[in-house]
Amino acid sequence: MGKKGLITHQAAIQVTGHNVSNAQTEGYSRQKVTLEIFDPLYIPGLTRENAPGQIGQGVQVEKILRARDMLLEDRILSEKNGLSYWKSMSDWIYQVELIHNEPTDKSIMNTLDRFWASWQDLANNPEEIGSREAVREYGAALARHINYNFQALKSLRNNIEQAVQMRVKEINEIAKQIAKLNEQILRSEATGDNPNDLWDKRDLLVERLSGYVDIHIGRSDQDEFMVFIGGKHLVQGKHFEQLMLDRNPANEGYSDVRWEVDGTLLKLRSGELKAHLDARDVELKYQIDSLDRFAANLTDLVNTIHRRGFGLNLRTGLNFFMENPISPNPLGDYDFNRDGFVDGTALFRITGTHALNLDEVVGLQGAITLNDGIMVEYADTDRVTDILTKVNNAGSDIKMYISDEGTLMVKSDAPVLAISHLEDSGDFLVQYSGILRERGEAGAFDRGQVNMAEAVSEDFMVAPGGHPASWIRLDEHIAEEVESIAAATGTDTDGDGIPNLSMGAGNGDNALGIAGLRFEKVMIGGSETMNEYYAALIAGTGLRGESAQNENLNRDLIVENLVNLRKSISGVNIDEELVNLVKYQHGYAAAARFITKVDEMLDLLINRMM
């Protein structure tokens, strides 16, 4: 009986020591020894010795429990993936904000202002080489700035891709480890033990995993601990699944995360991995698309006016920014599916032939079909502006607006910057504005067919290739000779619609025309100026950054409180352990004293009875 006391208290002291030494170990939960009365010597019955009461047999360790609240644990898991989602999201958007570098005097916005101002200076002094140099420099600086931001956004996107790859590897590794631990735990549990430290280890891994992906834990089956992601099990007892990375050519070679077993896409709702994927495929893609759209429109708008003007050297018809069409074919025929044969027509802009008046009642009826079968009907009471509003709000990626010459412009707002489909059952797009040549299906423009440029007005621009933001730069004629910058307007004397006689060296009207682009509503179907478009991009980024940061802070507080709660339950309190230590030490000393007493008794009995 004394020995039992000694052994039991020794075990209790050992557990206390274990607690104290693991006080700072991550994921460790305090262990508690439950003592229990050893079964008494006799069981009640007629055959028992005729003595009063049951004589106790001492103490034994019933079990060593760990102090852990599994419900709290599950709350922490579910809050944690939200926290890490917003934390990573906030970090990525912060980096995007750093790239934009607003509001400072070294941003695209500021360079754009200087660019417009340089055209006004040129209009003031069209004969001066100095003001031409300034236009060239600010044009080049603007292009460089756009290139730089594009490269920075692109490499940020690549960094996120690397983070995705790393996380997927880590998730696979954790799944493997959990499955292995499950096996050990199962073995240990089978013998009736409480494998506290193994449980702690597994909980720690699960908690780490919950930061990466939104997992659900299945504890319903005692023998099979399960981890689910999006309804599919990652770990089931000792079995585990693996995730794989699948480069998606449709997404510029960025990887999709799939299940290795059946190749289906991993479904995520939260967690760090989801934040990486969202940042890569939503936020960064949006940023790059916006920059591309900005660059493509800047190129087209400036060039359209610039081509009409005359340089000091009387050259005309030159582009200011280089155009880099997606296809070498001047009619925009392009091989969309890259099988070696042209299969479509890629046009970024089509301009009508007739000048329109926004407030004129069109007096026609029909239906315009845009991409994805989006139909916009117009009645004969609609004014031009009504029809444009309908088209621009129809949710298609085709936008229409009136150019500074009054003609109707149709532009693509899609990431590929190529108009997908245009069709009009009435005459608005046909005879009225001169975009299409024929009515109805027969005269429809469709991206998916070749030689479609024949169906539209002659004034179109072939879609720019790749990312316009990555290659926007000055046209080489302008870069080489500033005298070619077209500050002067001209007169069309031969009637082909293209000016062929310069107004003279002192004329700066064309430069004023280009400077005037800054307050013309030319973006998003004529609702925003270029500056407003860019400012809205920054404000949007800032708003998303702000909300991500606030979500992050809120969840951080929640998780912090939960973790504090857990610490109060599972954490090791050194004072408490010391009290226990003293308690068990006394117990041990008492048991030892008991043994000495028994020894003395035996000594008396054996040695003194002679």
Binding site: I93, Y94, E97, L98, H100, E102, P103, M109, N110, D113, R114, A117, Q120, D121, A123, N124, N125, E127, E128, A488, T491, D492, T493, D494, G495, D496, G497, L501, M503, G504, A505, G506, N507, G508, D509, L512, A515, G516, R518, F519, N531, A535, I538, A539, T541, G542, L543, G545, E546, Q549, E560, N564, K567, S568, G571, I574, D575, L578, V579, V582
Partner: protein, 405 residues
């Protein structure tokens, strides 16, 4: 646990203090869009407007410098014309002899040379009275030998510039021309043009567009000469058209002292067909068969000079002096106009400066840190931080270990 709590709290406190420190150091309320997205986008807009106002101010200053320069050139021209007029009155006086008049004529010739130089005045190397043709001298004086003067004197002054406006943007979308072309300023008489081509049965073959004194005029296919005349008369140009009853040709007359400036544009041949234009490029594009009348200021000066040389006292006293009056009147008219434009630019500039002050005020309210407030907040945060540290230090100090032997 208390230690962890302390770490969390002090992390948050230092984060806030860092933000405040940044605002105080830069003087800006927000550095990143996320700190105040709406404020940042406002800042961007205000910055842009300020920048634009600065550019407008530059445009106005530049325009004003040129207008003032042109105005002082016209003031000089006015003085010279006035002197010539006085000399003319002197010459018309019967007491002078032929030789005296020749001497006066020689003086006038010198003044004429001066006048041509003024008409070709350059500002920063650009001719100011040449319209858009600023790199050449707008007025070409041809000298030939005169037996009266006994030397080569100016016999013809031609305008080689154009009517192009030198435009400046002085506020958003508000464009003003800051020049006056030489074929308006240096003109003295109303001009007229008589075509010698009978256009009675002429029909405009296709829709066409011509430009008369810078204003485009559209003719429709099928217009006859009456319609052409009508359309010209209805256009906002100081030119009136009519049909010559004698030969059926068109007559163009200006209603003020400016040159007639006609161009066929966008492939039109109408003006060439009805004998107004020769088909050459402007400025020397009028048809050689058309007769033109109406003289420049130089013509007026040359007339008075030549009348004096030829001792034609009667002409000096009547027609020539009358021409000088017209010349003076026209120069004065454009001096007034330039003065008015200069005043307008002054007003625009005053408004720009006011706008800029307002905008700077708004911008400052939007993004500048209220230093007093920021420092107070920083002090308060410091206090909170210190007390958090102090309390925690007190609380975590004693442990049971201190009391166990």
């Amino acid at each position: 646990m208390m230690g962890d709590n302390l770490i969390n709290i002090s992390k948050r406190n230092t984060g806030r203090m860092l933000e405040l420190q940044n605002s105080l150091a830069t003087g800006l309320q927000h550095r990143m869009p996320r700190e105040n997205p709406i404020g940042v986008s406002h800042s961007m807009t205000y910055d842009r407007i300020l920048f634009e106002l600065g550019q407008f101010e530059k445009n106005v200053d530049d325009g004003k410098a040129r207008i003032n320069f042109a105005e002082s050139a016209l003031a000089n021209a006015g003085d010279i014309l006035q002197r010539i007029r006085e000399l003319g009155i002197q010459g018309a006086n019967g007491i002078y002899t032929k030789d005296d008049r020749a001497k006066i004529a020689t003086e006038i010739d010198e003044l004429l040379n001066e006048l041509v130089l003024i008409a070709n005045t350059q500002f920063k190397g650009r001719s100011i009275f040449g319209g858009n043709d600023t790199l050449e001298n707008p007025f070409l004086a041809s000298r030939t030998y005169s037996k009266y003067a006994g030397k080569e004197i100016i016999q013809k002054v031609e305008y080689l510039g154009d009517m192009g406006p030198q435009n400046r943007e002085i506020s958003r979308g508000n464009i003003v021309a800051i020049n006056v072309p030489g074929n308006e300023v240096f003109w003295a008489e109303n001009s007229s043009l008589f075509s010698s081509v009978d256009a009675t049965h002429y029909v405009v073959p296709a829709d066409s567009r011509v430009r008369i004194n810078g204003v485009p005029i559209d003719f429709k296919a099928g217009d006859n000469i009456e319609m052409i005349v009508n359309r010209i008369n209805n256009a906002p140009v100081p030119v009136r058209a009519s049909v010559n009853r004698m030969n059926g040709g068109i007559i163009l007359e200006t209603s003020s002292a400016v040159a007639i400036w006609v161009e066929d544009i966008e492939g039109s041949r109408v003006m060439q067909d009805i004998g107004v234009l020769s088909g050459a490029m402007p400025p020397r594009n009028l048809s050689p068969t058309a007769r033109t009348f109406g003289g420049t200021i130089f013509d007026m000066v040359m007339r008075i000079r030549d009348s004096l040389y030829m001792n034609d006292v009667e002409d000096v006293g009547s027609r020539s002096l009358g021409g000088m009056d017209l010349a003076l009147e026209n120069v004065l008219k454009y001096r007034t106009e330039l003065g008015a434009r200069s005043n307008r630019l002054d007003m625009v500039k005053a408004r720009i400066i006011q706008d800029r002050t307002n905008m700077e005020d708004i911008l400052s309210k939007n993004e500048d840190v209220d230093i007093a407030e920021a420092i107070t907040r920083l002090r308060m945060l410091e206090l909170v931080h210190k007390s958090a540290l102090g309390v925690t230090a007190r609380v975590i100090q004693p442990t049971l270990l201190d009391f166990l032997r």
